[in-house]
Amino acid sequence: MPQVTLTVNGKQHTVEVEGRTLLVELLREKLRLTGTHVGCDPSQCGACVVHVNGDSVKSCTTLAVMCEGAQVTTIEGLAAPDGTLHPMQEAFREYHALQCGFCTPGMVMSAVDLVRKNPQGLSEKEIREGLEGNLCRCTGYHNIVKAIAAAQEVMHGRRASLAAAAE
């Protein structure tokens, strides 16, 4: 059985996988990192989005063997080691951008990547277009869009805090 060695949330793992094993299966079933979810088959809903070498990817459409040597960050690894939430996580809470929580990990990971790659700042329309790959059935996206708009101000250092971003 092939082996893959990868770093997940700063910790290196060597895992035996089948050729057909998906990254999300490796994360959920081998490493028991169950924060990454599967909501479709495949690539439609974005609940499985993680970062691989700094890019958001759908882990349900990524073979585990493709991740040899990769740096993977999941929702469990997004907060600071002391537990301080990432500004995007904090913004989702502040703006009530989650209800059932199932799409939330993928939504947050997609949003972080979207904001990081657009330091110029995103309009509401651009945020909505940027979320094209993530489905949420609970919120109607209204508060998700608001949360991302506020978080980008903090992530890019234009505001010191979410409270300041709300002003």
Partner: protein, 790 residues
């Protein structure tokens, strides 16, 4: 001493307690649960809509690597069918047809996705591989994939014992009064519509894990359910014959439900049974395609309605004939949706004095249809609110004034409708006026002209809706055919040092109960919400419960908690009277403090609870120690949220694409506990309503193949399909529950669809368009624009 600062009680915009675990990946959904020695089930499903099973050969599959068991219906001898929770009666008083709904197909399959066999293996992949090695000898039969096909003379029968494929033929109202009113009407307006079939698509696919402890004989089922106690009752008593005391059902974090996770599904029984048979835990997780063909669908009505009006536009009578698709089998709640959750709402917010409705429920070779967010009320609201717009146009009335003229006036409450319900409170004029102002209705024509200059067609549409929720008074629903009570149960456990555990039979799958219910405790008992834990979803922890659906959690479940807190306060007063040497009548309680009236003597709730658990100085002769109370609350009536939604759209004539540009909701949901959560519930409901109106439609071909069987084929609303939703509330209190609350979970999905379609039709008014069926896809609109000239 417990002091609530800042204010966290009723009305506070408190951030949710549950968010931290969801945001950090620490939610615990059913598929996140893994038990020692766990195996995986894969369910082989029918690829045909209708076929006889001549034989099943599982021998090759049984020999495949990792396989620990392969089962068909032959292995399930003695196991009951999945029960239906409602019995509707025909016009002639006879009961509805109620054919067996087997756990695994018995001799015949009746829809694509009908479960045929189960493979259990060491891994998910091995189970799936082995299922491919099962040979099923199908003799394909002609299928009825639509109600029209099922009702055609000589149509194939879905169930041999159900002639004409008719489940029931039911009616309500006064047909003679309606005919008399039509005879003297100045205007008669006819409207026909299909309420499109929808797939609920909660983001978490269904999942079930069964486990059996041979030492104790106890079965445990972890399942994606909105009502674990109901599943325990139905599965234990009717399917697997397991006494409640030996069956624990746990519904942990659940990733959305919208109705689809109310019902008792075959997979729950399969994993529970197989775990005991194999002596190992068994997990089944749906993939999305499987969800499309096995989760109960929603809506799917075909209706013809006629409205009679007098010369001034007053509604005189309404006549409705509806056919409702049940699918291939009766799901748990299915029969009540097009009857008591639909036809009883046909008065809407209007004083129509005479109403008659008949509903024919039809079996087809499709997935069972049951309650989906709103359940019956969206269908009634769409029919009425489109009919009013159609009538206004046909008869030459202003559509807003026509509504106002026919509204039930505030002083007419309580208002008895001609279709059984008695509305307790509401103010439809106020919600209409507030919504029109918020949406700048008066300024619309200028926006239409501005859009026209840009080459866009702009339209605006209102919807003034009511719904009945807070389900439900047990005796009333019992007389209508419900086979269960619909009360709720709440336990308040005040711990020795004053923290509180709330046990509720309601279940949260996104609604934020852990926060809202904690706010009730903060408000009434003065305990900070950080010291209140809300426990739900486990039959081993919570005494009993009927679960969450029909916007009932706060109105019924919250009221049960309120009653339990009354009992806590009453007992606390007796303890306080003893400790402070006063009479019970002189003890006052407010926000966590018991006081002797007119003195400075006071004891905190924590001091009282400590005395109750350490009863050294305690009225032990008269009172039991401890401070824990349970209440069962049975509502006196339904609750009646209502309001006004206004949609504004722009259409690209080149493509037919509809852009939602503004959406305004003004809802009367009764007293608001947490405005942030209420706004979120309305926004989410509106998104599903807009999805129904513009995007979503479940499609079968004539052979019964599910064409819209994935998220590639079924258009779920995405962020760029929607617009910001402006939400406001206008409150009239529910008069019959102690909290004055009505419910907010379904109003968006109920009010939004006709507002959107009214706006789309308004945008196309110059093309002579009088109606567009949902979903109003670009193809439909483009065809209209291409096919007609102004």
């Amino acid at each position: 001493m417990n002091v609530v600062t800042p204010f966290e009680g009723i009305g506070a915009r408190v951030k949710r307690k549950e968010d931290l675990r969801f945001l950090s990946g620490r939610g615990q959904y059913t598929d996140d649960i893994n038990r020692p020695g766990q195996t995986y089930a894969f369910i082989l499903r029918s690829p045909h809509a209708h076929a006889r099973i001549a034989g099943i050969d599982t021998s090759r599959a049984a020999a495949m690597p990792g396989v620990v068991g392969v089962f068909t219906s032959a292995d399930l001898a003695g196991i009951g069918g999945l029960p239906c929770g409602w019995q509707i009666h025909n016009k002639d008083g006879t009961p509805m047809a109620e054919p067996k709904h087997p756990v695994l197909a018995e001799g015949k399959v009746r829809h694509v996705g009908d479960p045929v066999a189960v493979v259990v293996a060491e891994t998910r992949a091995q189970a799936r591989d082995a299922a491919e090695a099962i040979t099923v000898d199908y003799e394909v039969l002609p299928a009825v994939a639509s109600m029209a096909a099922a009702l055609a003379p000589g149509a194939p029968l879905v169930h041999e014992g159900v002639p004409g494929n008719i489940c029931y033929d039911w009616h309500i109202g006064d047909a003679a009064a309606v005919e008399a009113a039509f005879a003297r009407a100045a205007h008669r307006v006819t409207f026909e519509t299909t309420n499109n079939r929808l797939v609920p698509n909660a983001m978490e696919p269904r999942c079930a894990v069964g486990e059996y402890d041979a030492a104790t004989g106890e079965h445990t089922l972890y399942t994606t359910s909105q009502n674990p106690h109901v599943i325990r009752l139905l599965m234990g008593a009717f399917v697997l014959n397991i006494p409640e005391a030996k069956l624990r059902v746990v519904a942990p974090d659940v990733g959305g439900g919208f109705g689809s996770k109310i019902y008792h599904y075959a997979e729950e029984a399969i994993v529970t049974w197989a775990a005991a048979r194999l002596g190992r835990p068994v997990k089944w997780t749906a993939d999305r395609t499987e969800a499309f063909m096995s989760d109960a669908h929603g809506r799917d009505h075909v209706t013809r309605a006629e409205l009679a009006l007098d010369a001034e536009g007053r509604f005189l009578a309404l006549k409705v004939s509806t056919r409702a698709n049940m699918g291939a089998y009766l799901s748990t709640f299915a029969p009540c949706v097009p009857t008591y959750l639909y036809a009883t709402l046909l008065a809407g917010v209007y004083t129509t004095p005479a109403i008659y409705a008949e509903v024919k429920a039809v079996f087809t070779n499709t997935v069972p249809v049951d309650a989906y967010r709103g359940a019956g009320r969206p269908e009634a609201t769409f029919l009425l609110e489109r009919l009013v717009d159609v009538a206004a146009r046909q008869c030459g009335f202003d559509r807003v004034e026509l509504r106002r003229k026919n509204f039930i006036r505030p002083e007419q409450f309580p208002y008895q409708t001609p279709v059984a319900l008695q509305y307790d409170s509401g103010n439809y004029h106020a919600t209409l006026d507030q919504a029109l102002a918020a949406a700048d209705w008066a300024g619309f024509e200028a926006r239409r002209a501005e859009a026209k200059a840009r080459g866009r067609l702009r339209g605006i549409g209102p919807s003034t809706y009511i719904e009945a929720c807070g389900i439900a008074p047990s005796a009333v629903v019992g007389s209508l055919g419900a086979r269960a009570g619909l009360y709720e149960v709440g336990t308040i456990r005040v711990h020795p040092t004053g923290s509180v555990t709330v046990l509720t039979g309601a279940h949260s799958h996104g609604q934020g109960h852990e926060t809202t219910f904690a706010q009730l405790v903060a408000d009434k008992l003065g305990v900070p919400i950080a010291k209140v834990e809300v426990v739900h979803g486990d039959t081993a922890k919570v005494p009993f419960g009927m679960g969450t659906y029909g916007s009932r959690s706060l109105a019924v479940g919250g009221s049960a908690m309120d009653r339990a807190m009354d009992k806590i306060i009453a007992k606390g007063k007796k303890i306080a009277a003893h400790l402070m040497e006063a009479s019970v009548e002189d003890i006052e309680f407010e926000r966590g403090i018991f006081r002797v009236a007119g003195t400075d003597k006071a004891k905190s709730l924590a001091e009282i609870s400590l005395a109750a658990y350490v009863p050294h100085n305690y009225p032990i002769e008269e009172l039991e120690p401890g401070l824990e109370e349970t209440a069962f609350y049975d509502p006196k009536n339904f609750t009646y949220p209502g309001g006004c939604h206004v949609a504004e759209v722009e259409i690209e004539p080149e493509t037919g694409r509809v852009h939602l540009v503004n959406f305004t909701a003004v809802d009367d949901v009764g007293r608001v506990i947490n405005p942030m959560i209420v706004e979120g519930q309305v926004q989410g409901g509106v998104a599903q309503g807009v999805g129904q109106a513009l995007l979503e439609g479940c499609v079968y071909d004539e052979e019964g193949q599910l064409l819209s069987g994935s998220m590639l084929d079924y258009a779920m609303p995405r962020a760029d399909d929607l617009a910001p939703v402006s939400v406001a509330t206008h409150t009239t209190l529910c008069t019959h529950n102690p909290l004055g609350v009505k419910g907010c979970g379904e109003v968006g999905a109920i009010g939004a669809p006709p507002a959107v379609i009214n706006a789309v039709v308004d945008a196309l008014r110059d093309w002579g368009v009088t109606h567009i069926e949902m979903p109003a896809t670009p193809q439909k609109i483009w065809s209209i624009i291409q096919g007609r000239t102004r």
